[in-house]
């Protein structure tokens, strides 16, 4: 990125997406063209790694080590995708990741963080803000500090090689999502709660019948983010899951990568690796494609002051 990009931004235009007519001078045209060139080049380079991965999956070994690189494999071995998946236990890994990790932890997070965020956002009580500051402060603690004792605790509980260490702590809330939901809950007009209170409703009723239904967008964002985070998580499973039949897809792929060349499976090893990687990215792509709006608004929800 060139440092002159910002001046391209504002020349003749008002940031904020305002619709001001561009200066119809030659200079204006040059700037606009330059801008698109930069953007398109950047976008292409952002997508390049994915394209390289997906297309490499279609190669056979003769096309992997070539100079210059093969950008469009001909012939394209579409069967690599199917074969790679069958050769290793990825159906098991997907099931593990989905049903033992991603879905349970998402449910636990959404439920627990809603309840806690409600307490921090919709009820006024002495000491609330102090406690909330403590909650926020915990985000500063590096995971390494608690990693060792947590591992030891879980070992003593016999929870190693189960998914419990990964799911259970999230049943108690997570500071980041509590913050996100609290931001959102606070924006719901106080009058709604007050009116319900005057009608004799207790806080739990108010939460379940009024606040939660209104908070569906925010809850969706939390669910999406948590699901994706679990789908992508590598370190957690690395620490707690040592048996191959328990692997998540992250561990499965990494295991495959590490054993290339040592398994006597050199043939088509890299294309298979790329194929598998492409497949495990697909759910993310699909979710993202459909929920793009929600994602991006959700990011804004957390990053902005409020």
């Amino acid at each position: 990125m060139t440092v002159s990009a910002p001046s391209h931004v504002a020349v003749g235009q008002v940031p904020g997406g305002a619709e001001q007519a561009p200066r119809s001078s030659a200079w204006g045209w040059v700037v606009t063209t330059l801008k698109y060139v930069v953007l398109i080049t950047l976008a292409a380079s952002f997508l390049l790694p994915f394209y390289w991965m997906a297309s490499s999956a279609l190669k056979d070994d003769s096309q992997i080590y070539t100079v210059p690189p093969v950008w469009i494999p001909i012939p394209a071995h579409w069967e690599n995708y199917w074969n790679a998946w069958q050769t290793y236990d990825f159906n098991l890994y997907i099931t593990n990741t989905l049903f033992k990790y991603a879905l349970p932890v998402t449910l636990a997070t959404v439920v627990s963080c809603s309840i806690v965020a409600y307490g921090f956002a919709r009820i006024r009580w002495r000491g609330r803000d102090l406690l909330f500051s403590l909650c926020m402060a915990t985000m500063m603690i590096p995971f390494q500090v608690t990693m060792v004792p947590l591992f030891i605790t879980f070992k003593k509980l016999g929870w190693i090689n189960t998914y419990l260490p990964l799911v259970v702590p999230y049943s108690f809330g997570d500071a980041y999502f509590i913050f996100m939901l609290r931001q959102f809950f606070k924006q719901i007009p106080r009058e709604l709660s007050d009116a319900a209170r005057m009608d004799g409703a207790n806080e739990f009723d108010i939460m379940v019948r009024i606040i939660i239904p209104l908070a569906k967008p925010a809850l969706t964002v939390v669910a999406l983010f948590q699901f994706m985070w679990a789908w992508n998580d590598y370190l957690g499973p690395l620490i707690y899951l040592n048996r191959q039949d328990l692997y998540t897809i992250a561990l499965g792929v990494e295991n495959l990568r590490r054993t290339i060349g040592t398994r006597g499976l050199d043939y088509l090893a890299y294309p298979y690796l790329m194929a598998v990687s492409t497949v495990i990215t697909l759910p993310i792509v699909i979710i993202f494609f459909f929920a793009q709006r929600t994602f991006i608004e959700g990011i804004s929800l957390t990053g902005l002051k409020g």
């Binding site: 940031p15 801008k35 950047l42 790694p49 991965m53 070539t66 004792p149 992250a250 990053g303 902005l304």
Partner: protein
């Protein structure tokens, strides 16, 4: 934060009810905090003063772990240096690049949401895929970049196998994943009141001045947030270096978290690993405090309630 001029006074029964109700709702978090945060924090502090290999009960060592780390362990210095290098570059560069891209996207362009999606997407891809994709792209033997260079008769670039290039390569990959920061910046930029720009333009301010005196100051809260989170995250950076370089080549990417992980889970020196963790915690706290203290000078909260 707590209001300092409220003297403790008797609370009415209504207030007590509120406290109890509030506590009830946040009790999952409180319990979780005690179980998964407070207790491990205290434990790890305790373990840091012991020798503990998980096989036998911990033996008390006093400050020996800390002394060993600072005097007898060459890897500590390397790990600290590598991590500071990485954090010092990746946080500002990541923020800068995402801010610039967001600024570019904030102008009158067609297909803003498409570009935004493309730039955001790498941020949500599994780390293992990021690692594989980039390993496959940057490799000397079969990477696309080096093959292209070779076919043009140029020398190859050993991105991840050369000690001098390894860290910058990781920083580059990091910048590729900053899509979420970019989205936040974009949203912030779009909220800057147009009236400010119009007034400035009427006063004769040119584009650069508008950027420096309006745009950037209005974004400083988000910039601070981004820097703090980037610093905290950067110090904990584990997955990508673990997958891509395993700390090599020549310990060039032996970051603090890898070094800690090895001490704890490979060498089973849980005591030393705990000590290392607390040192890291201290460093992060110091950095965060410095950042916040300095923020008084350059962060402008005028746009907030």
């Amino acid at each position: 934060m707590a209001i300092s001029n409220v003297k403790p006074r008797r609370m009415s029964s209504a207030e007590w009810r509120n406290v109890l109700t509030g506590l009830l709702f946040v009790s999952p978090w409180v319990l979780g905090f005690l179980l998964w945060t407070a207790y491990p924090l205290v434990s790890s502090l305790y373990y840091s003063f012991t020798h503990y290999d998980l096989l036998r009960p911990p033996t008390f060592l006093g400050l020996k772990n800390y002394i060993e780390i600072f005097t007898d362990d060459p890897h500590f210095g390397t790990a600290m240096y590598n991590t500071l290098y990485y954090v010092g570059l990746s946080a500002p560069l990541g923020m800068l690049s995402s801010f610039l891209v967001a600024s570019l996207l904030n102008t009158r362009i067609v297909g803003r949401s498409v570009f935004r999606a493309i730039f955001f997407f790498p941020a949500i891809v599994p780390a293992i895929v990021t690692a594989m994709v980039w390993q496959f792209l940057l490799s000397v033997q079969y990477g696309a970049i080096n093959s292209t260079l070779q076919s043009m008769g140029l020398a190859t670039i050993p991105f991840l196998s050369n000690p001098t290039l390894a860290k910058p390569s990781l920083i580059l990959i990091h910048m590729w994943t900053q899509g979420n920061a970019m989205v936040i910046f974009l949203a912030t930029l779009q909220e800057v009141p147009r009236s400010l720009y119009e007034a400035a333009t009427m006063d004769g301010a040119n584009a650069l001045r508008r950027l420096w005196h309006i745009t950037i100051p209005m974004c400083t809260p988000v910039i601070l947030f981004n820097l703090v989170m980037s610093f905290i995250g950067g110090f904990q950076n584990f997955t990508l270096p673990w997958l891509l370089t395993q700390g090599g080549p020549n310990n060039a990417t032996e970051f603090y978290s890898l070094y800690l992980y090895r001490n704890g889970f490979k060498f089973l020196r849980m005591g030393k690993a705990s000590a290392l963790a607390w040192i890291l915690f201290l460093v992060i706290v110091i950095f965060t405090v410095i950042l916040f203290k300095s923020s008084g000078r350059w962060v402008y909260y005028g746009g907030e309630e």
